[in-house]
C-alpha cells in the first residue's frame, strides 16, 4: 500500500515510476490488514501528524475511487470498561484534541445511540468521527492503476545497483535490471532486507497479528469499535502476546475481529489460543457475536520498528535511496501521507511535514 501511494503521488508530480513487487499486488502485509485509517489510536506526535495528513489525502482520493475501494468515513468508537480506563482515555483525548483530532466524549448512557448492540455496563467512551476504513487490497490495486505507473509483479529485487561513488542507479531483478536515479524501499515488513541489499541497516521486525472474519451480517457494528487498552497495546514494546478487542463491520458484510500482537518472527502457523482470545474479547464488547459464526482467520506481519515510527525519506547513507516502510499496524492509513512526503522529496520540494522523526538512519546513531 505504501508503495502504491508513493507511485501515485510521484507520478502526479510528473515522475516516471516503475513499481516492482516480488509477489502480487497486496500480497504482503497490505492484504493481511483491516484497512484502518485511524487517528484515534495515536498519541500526539509525529505519527499523529502523519495520520491527520493521510486522512485528509484519503478523503481526497475517495472522491474519485471511494466506492471502488470501499472507503467508509464511519468513525471510531473507543470504549472503556472501568472508571480507571476512562480517566486514562479522557487524558488522551485532551491531548489529541490539542493536536487537531476531532473527538467527542460519550457518556455511558449514550454509547448505545452510537452502537446499539454494545454490551451494557461500560464506563463510557469517545467518538472519533475522522476514523475511516478502506478495503486494503482494492485500495492498493485501484491506486496503482490510478497512478499510471509501470507495474512489475512477481519480480524479486536481488540487488540495489550503485554507481562507483555509491549512489543508487536502479535495481536488479530476476528478470533484468531497472535503471532509475532514485529507489524507494516500500517493502513493508521486508523493508530491512531491501535496505540490506543497499548496504544499510534498517531494523524492521515482524509483529504478527490475527484477524477473525465472521459470516456476512446486516450492518450491526456501525463504527470501528475497540477497547481503550488497545492504544496501550499498540504502543507497547513487549514481544509477548497481547490481545485487545477491535471490532468492525465491513461494506461486504463480514465483521472483522482483531487485534493480536506478538513477535514470533515470520511464523505463519495458526494459533488457536490467539483467535480464542480475540473471539472472547469481541463477545465482551458485542454479546450478539456469541451467536455469530466465524468463517475464517487470516494472519499478517506488521512492520515493527523499535520506536514505533516508520522510516520515511532519503537515506543519507546511500544517495538516491529513500525509505517508506516500517508503519507497523498503521500502514494503510499512513500510506497516503507517506506517498505525498516521498513525492515531495523526489520532486526536490520541502516536505510538508518534518521528516526528522522518521529518519531512516536514526537507529544507527543510537547504536553508536
Amino acid at each position: 500500500m505504501a508503495g502504491a501511494a508513493c507511485a501515485l503521488y510521484a507520478a502526479r508530480a510528473g515522475l516516471d515510476v516503475t513499481v516492482v513487487d516480488r509477489g502480487p499486488v497486496a500480497g504482503g502485509t497490505t492484504g493481511a490488514g483491516e484497512g484502518n485509517l485511524l487517528v484515534s489510536d495515536k498519541e500526539p506526535g509525529p505519527e499523529l501528524e502523519l495520520a491527520l495528513l493521510s486522512n485528509r489525502l484519503w478523503a481526497d482520493l475517495a472522491e474519485d475511487v471511494g466506492e471502488a475501494i470501499e472507503y467508509e468515513a464511519k468513525g471510531g468508537v473507543v470504549v472503556a470498561s472501568s472508571e480507571h480506563g476512562l480517566a486514562a482515555l479522557t487524558d488522551l483525548v485532551a491531548a489529541q484534541r490539542a493536536a487537531g483530532v476531532v473527538a467527542e466524549q460519550v457518556p455511558a448512557d449514550r454509547l448505545h445511540d452510537l452502537e446499539p448492540h454494545l454490551a451494557p455496563g461500560l464506563a463510557g467512551g469517545v467518538h472519533y468521527p475522522q476514523d475511516s476504513q478502506v478495503m486494503p487490497t482494492l485500495a492498493a490495486a485501484h491506486i496503482l492503476r490510478a497512478s499510471g505507473a509501470r507495474l512489475l509483479t512477481g519480480r524479486t529485487v536481488t540487488e540495489v545497483l550503485r554507481t562507483a561513488d555509491g549512489a543508487v542507479r536502479g535495481v536488479r531483478t530476476g528478470h533484468g535490471d531497472i535503471h532509475a536515479p532514485a529507489v524507494v524501499n516500500a517493502a513493508g515488513t521486508w523493508g530491512g532486507e531491501v535496505a540490506a541489499l543497499a548496504g544499510v541497516s534498517l531494523p524492521v521486525l515482524p509483529r504478527r497479528g490475527f484477524v477473525l472474519v465472521t459470516e456476512p451480517l446486516p450492518r450491526r457494528v456501525r463504527h470501528k469499535v475497540y477497547a481503550a487498552d488497545y492504544v496501550a497495546d499498540v504502543a507497547s514494546d513487549s514481544a509477548a502476546l497481547q490481545t485487545s478487542p477491535v471490532v468492525e463491520g465491513t461494506a461486504a458484510g463480514p465483521v472483522l475481529i482483531g487485534a493480536s500482537r506478538e513477535r514470533v518472527g515470520f511464523d505463519r502457523s495458526f494459533s488457536l489460543p490467539v483467535v480464542r482470545a480475540l473471539a472472547a474479547g469481541a463477545v465482551r464488547l458485542f454479546p450478539f457475536l456469541e451467536e455469530v459464526r466465524a468463517m475464517r482467520t487470516y494472519a499478517g506481519f506488521r512492520p515493527y520498528m523499535p520506536d514505533h515510527l516508520p522510516a520515511i525519506g532519503p537515506d543519507p547513507r546511500v544517495p538516491g535511496l529513500l525509505h517508506a516502510c516500517g508503519h507497523e499496524g498503521a500502514g494503510i492509513g499512513l500510506a497516503t501521507g507517506t506517498g505525498r512526503l516521498i513525492a515531495q522529496v523526489l520532486g526536490g520540494k520541502a516536505p510538508e511535514l518534518d521528516l526528522a522523526p522518521f529518519r531512516p538512519d536514526r537507529f544507527e546513531e543510537e547504536a553508536a
Binding site: E215, P218, R293
Partner: protein, 99 residues
C-alpha cells in the same frame, strides 16, 4: 451408475426432514447437502449482491458457497453438517440474518 443411488452402501432407514416446510427423505450419514441433492435440489441460497442461486461448489467446507439455514441457524455449510431427523432446512437469502 446413478449418482442419486447409493453405490453398494447399506444405510439405515430413511427419515424425514423439511426444506422450506416441504418434507423430503434423508438417509443416516448424509450431509444436508447430499440429502438436498438426492432430493433433486441443487440450489438453496441466493447471493447477497445480485440474488444469484448457489448450492455446492467445493463440497469440502472451504468455499462457503453452500450456506444454508438449519433449525433457524443461518450460514451453516450444507456440505459439512450431518443431516438429522426432523431438521428444518430453509433456503437462505442475503446474509440469512435479515428476517
Amino acid at each position: 451408475m446413478n449418482p442419486l443411488e447409493p453405490a453398494r452402501a447399506e444405510p439405515g432407514p430413511a427419515f424425514a426432514v423439511t426444506l422450506d416446510g416441504r418434507e423430503i427423505a434423508a438417509l443416516p450419514g448424509q450431509t444436508v447437502a447430499t440429502a438436498l441433492w438426492a432430493a433433486g435440489v441443487t440450489s438453496w441460497r441466493t447471493t447477497r449482491g445480485e440474488g444469484r442461486p448457489r448450492g455446492i461448489f467445493c463440497g469440502i467446507g472451504v468455499c462457503f458457497d453452500c450456506l444454508v439455514t438449519v433449525n433457524d441457524r443461518p450460514n451453516q455449510r450444507a456440505c459439512l453438517i450431518p443431516v438429522r431427523p426432523g431438521d428444518a432446512i430453509r433456503t437462505q437469502e442475503g446474509t440469512g440474518h435479515e428476517h
